[in-house]
Assembly symmetry: C2
Homo-oligomer: 356 residues x 2
Amino acid sequence: MSTPSGGGAKVPLPRAGTVGIKHVAQHAGVSPGTVSNVLNRPERVAPATRARVERAIRELGFVRNGSASTLRAGQSSSIGLMILDLGNPFFTDVARGVEDVASERGYAVILASSGGSHDKERRNLTVLAEQRVRGVLITPVDQEGDQAELLRRRGVAVVLLDHPTPRANQCSVAVDDVAGGELAVGHLLEQGARDVAMVTGPSVLRQCADRRKGALRALRAAGLGRDALREVAVPAMNARAGQEAAQRLLEGDLPDAIFCANDLLALGVLRVLLQAGVKVPGDVALIGYDDIEFTAAAAVPLSSVRQPTYQLGRIATDLLLDECDNPSGHAHQQVMFQPELVVRESSRQLIAQPEG
Amino acid sequence: MSTPSGGGAKVPLPRAGTVGIKHVAQHAGVSPGTVSNVLNRPERVAPATRARVERAIRELGFVRNGSASTLRAGQSSSIGLMILDLGNPFFTDVARGVEDVASERGYAVILASSGGSHDKERRNLTVLAEQRVRGVLITPVDQEGDQAELLRRRGVAVVLLDHPTPRANQCSVAVDDVAGGELAVGHLLEQGARDVAMVTGPSVLRQCADRRKGALRALRAAGLGRDALREVAVPAMNARAGQEAAQRLLEGDLPDAIFCANDLLALGVLRVLLQAGVKVPGDVALIGYDDIEFTAAAAVPLSSVRQPTYQLGRIATDLLLDECDNPSGHAHQQVMFQPELVVRESSRQLIAQPEG
DNA sequence: CGCAGGGGTTGACACGTTTTAATGACTTGG
DNA sequence: CCAAGTCATTAAAACGTGTCAACCCCTGCG
């Protein structure tokens, strides 16, 4: 009974993994169509038949061939998620939000990271397009190339993630980085800083450009010119790059305060400053961006700008799947969150200092 | 010329994204077989023909249908990577190694995270199996269920990642966690600790169990019984869980030293201890595990146990792809790395203390 | 001039699933 | 007891690509 090879096997079972719907059908004594029904509309199959088919599936170790389903259906039931950097907790938090919602709504997520490279972005998007994903969530490397536009023309739903757009023909979810930059630097100025440095990543990254714009705006509001902002650009957005930036700053006169375009940079900067005997915030105030989990546990608890990270992922995915499930009746939305200043020890001082 | 709808379109072009090899063939005035050749064996096609086809591909915005290819080929050219926790830098570092090698060798990576849940692990593996991935790299949730075994039976190559195996019928890449636990606790004892606590995650996790085993071994070697080890088990392996563990420890007498099963836990513990006014390492020595980037920048630079993370990913992927590309002539290997103790401030003291 | 050989191209089929229209069995009401 | 349904199941036709044997045409050699 339990020997699958027993029943007059007209179709011999090749290596496992090649068991198809037909084999199951034969084993259960039904037609392939019925097996398909068991898999996709179980309620249309008589209970007895269904049980027989399900047993055959178990016994043969059948696994549905997703390629064939997708081919037949014309589209898969997965979405692509393209982020900038796997090593940045900001993005992995976003990814958690995406996965949770997708899973709730019966979609699988294909996660890919561009690492900030146009080339990798393009290659990964090609793979996603070939997989006929239902839609794509993307944090683009920059405004230009606009790979996303190509996808949208091909009928793939696209939602921009952590990237606002003025265009009304697509969804986007973002946090106001200009406001965030203004918050951060405004706070530093309030604390008495007059000579502010900004450590920033590649200027093609919108996040960097916008946060810088906000920083300049804060300076202007305080009656300072843009020369008041010393800029240190590094080629990446991780702690190592932050260390490099700090070393460069140590070569000259130190500023009053440093605004880092993200927390990873800030952690790197902090480390080098402390090693060099610079007191934070005594000698230099420091603030980062993203408020990742580790900032609170840093050598000096780091001030930062908080974003609704997990929510960002959730909402973007909701928008995307709404568009997928109901392409015609979908109204594109551009969602913009406001960031929140989180003040910790690293930037508390200056004017308050004289007392001690 | 440039109007695709121009040439006596027998096959009308439906919505973009539905452009198939046939449309391209017609547009270029060749047969579908030739287009396929251009895509897969360009050298067999005459240069002039190839150019014509490539132009048609560009003009029509053709994108190969991966499902159809995979269906026809019987297997895809992607591999699955199943990790325990997206939020742990250890795993994202591993993932970087995997992606780099896979990309070098022409494979795509489908990244999935089980989050330590059997259920999610099983669901994700099912998706991977349905996608007919060439192979799977997996850090299993625990030894039991052995979902990986099922995959292997179905003819999918499987390499265990960060998980050793005694079985000779499969590849595995791991770091000796027992040795790591012994290193960590041995170090704490050398520093004069006598009352050691271990903060650990779910005991089903092999990493936790092995590191604990190593810890006990170190105690035994020092002539101490296993009661010398106070254990605090928390349900997750992140900073929040670490905070919870520290709060529990604060309710009773504090130990001399704390060994955390990973750095995220250690960062959480550190934070709560410092907030409670406990001096680290003055009152309590602390050591973590994994040596993630943030440990060095922590409030008190954290001692840890370093693993060759990126290499782990690279080597595992090499093994997997060797097996995929040459299934018959492949010799299974069980690779085991040795961890390395990294001593920083958080565990330096005790016996040296009396001097100051 | 005829023929062998080979490079270039073609056409048809197979991959495994889903779907649709049609078939068969079985129930119900007249 | 038959007609008209209802419900469960089936057979066959797609989806888009890759492969393979067959075919055509041109060149070079006898």
